[in-house]
Amino acid sequence: MLSEFLVITVGAILVNNFVLSKFLGICPFLGVSKKLDTALGMSGAVIFVMTLASLVSSLINSFLLVPMKLEYLQTLVFIVVIASLVQLVEIILQKLSAKLYESLGIFLPLITTNCAVLGCVVLNAKSAPESIQSTWYGATIYGFCSALGFALALILFSSLREKLDLADVPEAFEGTAISLVTAGILAMAFLGFSGLV
């Protein structure tokens, strides 16, 4: 049991990092990583949405879709759930922290279509029935840890990009180009964790 949790957490954060080894959620990874502050905000939002979406979707999946044999509706229903959750986060954020809301800009609604969130939820639903991931708490932990992995990559990357801002990068490589190069090297570094679990 405990080791299984360990596998989920370490696996989701380091080994099978959503961004750097599954290559999911690249859009916000590149888009919101210009500044560490926004990256932190985005990480918070993603952690919140991903954990909640995992929980809600897992519940809906095991208590609604599976008993009613509606598994073929999974993708559809999950998207609706994620979209509504994002909507909620957006409304609340706008009220509570207008500054963060403005700096996240278009990327907040984009979490809706963030493949990392959907990917996580679908992975939960598709996991073997006997694995811990198929239970609602296992799914929640997996969602939370995947989001942590996403946050880790995002924060590392944004601090690197802040540093790159001060660098004398050749004009042709300025901006996204050098960011992608950096992301590639970062992914290489994460590859070292393979086989840990």
């Binding site: 590859l191 070292g192 840990l196």
Partner: protein, 331 residues
């Protein structure tokens, strides 16, 4: 005094340079620093050539040449001033050579040199701006691209000039129990050129620390952490895990701890940061060595910690002399 007056010369004001203080500069330049590091590496280079023969020399020369060529080619192409004389490309080349094995084909050396200089350094704007250690970018890139070539090691043959394809496993790849620490200290083990002689590397490290070119906290914490973690693992289960001495004296740990983790550009600037950096490198190295699928984790660990450096730097901003908390609010 009056009769002297005509002969007294005064400065020509038009030739005076104005600049901001200070008007004195300390002696070290980038160039001198780089070549001191090369000098510190010389013992290890000599041992490598002694053990692996001409093939090692060939690898080192090829790597250095390709790095210098890549640097100059890029400078020409980008119309930047020539920069190989600052010694950084030469150092990168030698370090890269130390990270390859003696039987590495020529094209691996050339490819590695270009990867290191172009991808690892020049794309970021050259010396001083690269967030990752160029040597490790090249090494990890090659390791992922050509895992077979990069993990077959030639057996060192003292005095034999030339290699005839005798291969040996790195100590970390052997089953626990088969320890041969004396060989490892001297360098009579398989591995990359720079992974062999602990003694030579230690001499180099001592030179670097003596000249204050590296922060001693990094190698100390790096090696210390590896020793501690692998020691605990060994105590828990000596059947599965190597003794900590094997871990410390083998693989690229010494090379990494003294020559690569301490790379000025890609390590933290403060001493506090150096403690954290060294600890992180040690932790990840141990994790990968003990449980990962790669036998060696030093490169990955340093590369990963390189990515953490901006965050470490940010969180270790020290308080200035006479700093008082602004909340105090005295009259």
């Amino acid at each position: 005094m009056s009769e002297e007056t005509p002969t007294i010369q005064l400065p020509d004001p038009a030739k005076l340079v104005v600049s901001n203080s200070p008007h004195m500069r300390d002696k070290p330049t980038i160039n001198k620093i780089m070549f001191t590091v090369v000098a510190a590496m010389t013992p290890a280079l000599i041992v490598a050539v002694l053990f692996f023969g001409l093939a090692a020399l060939e690898v080192l020369v090829l790597c250095t040449l390709s790095c210098v060529l890549a640097e100059e080619g890029w400078n020409k192409f980008m119309k930047r001033p020539s920069s190989w004389k600052d010694g950084s490309a030469i150092l990168t080349g030698l370090l890269l050579g130390m990270n390859l094995n003696a039987g590495a084909p020529w094209w691996i050396c050339i490819l590695g040199g270009f990867l290191a200089i172009i991808l690892g350094k020049q794309l970021y704007g050259g010396l001083g701006y690269n967030p990752f250690n160029p040597v490790l970018v090249a090494r990890v890139g090659l390791l992922i691209g050509f895992p077979g070539l990069m993990t077959t090691w030639d057996k060192p043959q003292l005095g034999v000039m030339g290699i005839d394809g005798v291969t040996a496993a790195t100590p970390l790849g052997l089953a626990p129990g088969e320890t041969f620490i004396k060989d490892m200290v001297l360098g009579n083990v398989g591995g990359c050129l720079g992974e062999t002689s602990v003694l030579a590397l230690l001499i180099g490290g001592a030179i670097l620390i003596a000249f204050k070119l590296i922060k001693w906290e990094v190698p100390l914490m790096f090696i210390g952490t590896v020793f501690a973690i692998t020691g605990i693992a060994h105590l828990v289960n000596p059947e599965v895990y190597h003794s900590p001495f094997v871990h410390v004296f083998s693989g690229g740990l010494m090379l990494g701890a003294f020559f690569m983790a301490t790379d000025m550009v890609t390590s933290p600037m403060t001493h506090k940061g150096a403690w954290i950096f060294g600890f992180g490198c040690g932790l990840i190295t141990s994790l990968i060595r003990l449980w990962g699928s790669y036998p060696e984790g030093v490169s990955f660990a340093i590369l990963f910690m390189n990515a953490l450096v901006p965050l470490i730097d940010r969180s270790t901003i020290r308080k200035p002399f006479g700093f008082t908390a602004p909340a105090k609010g005295e009259a």
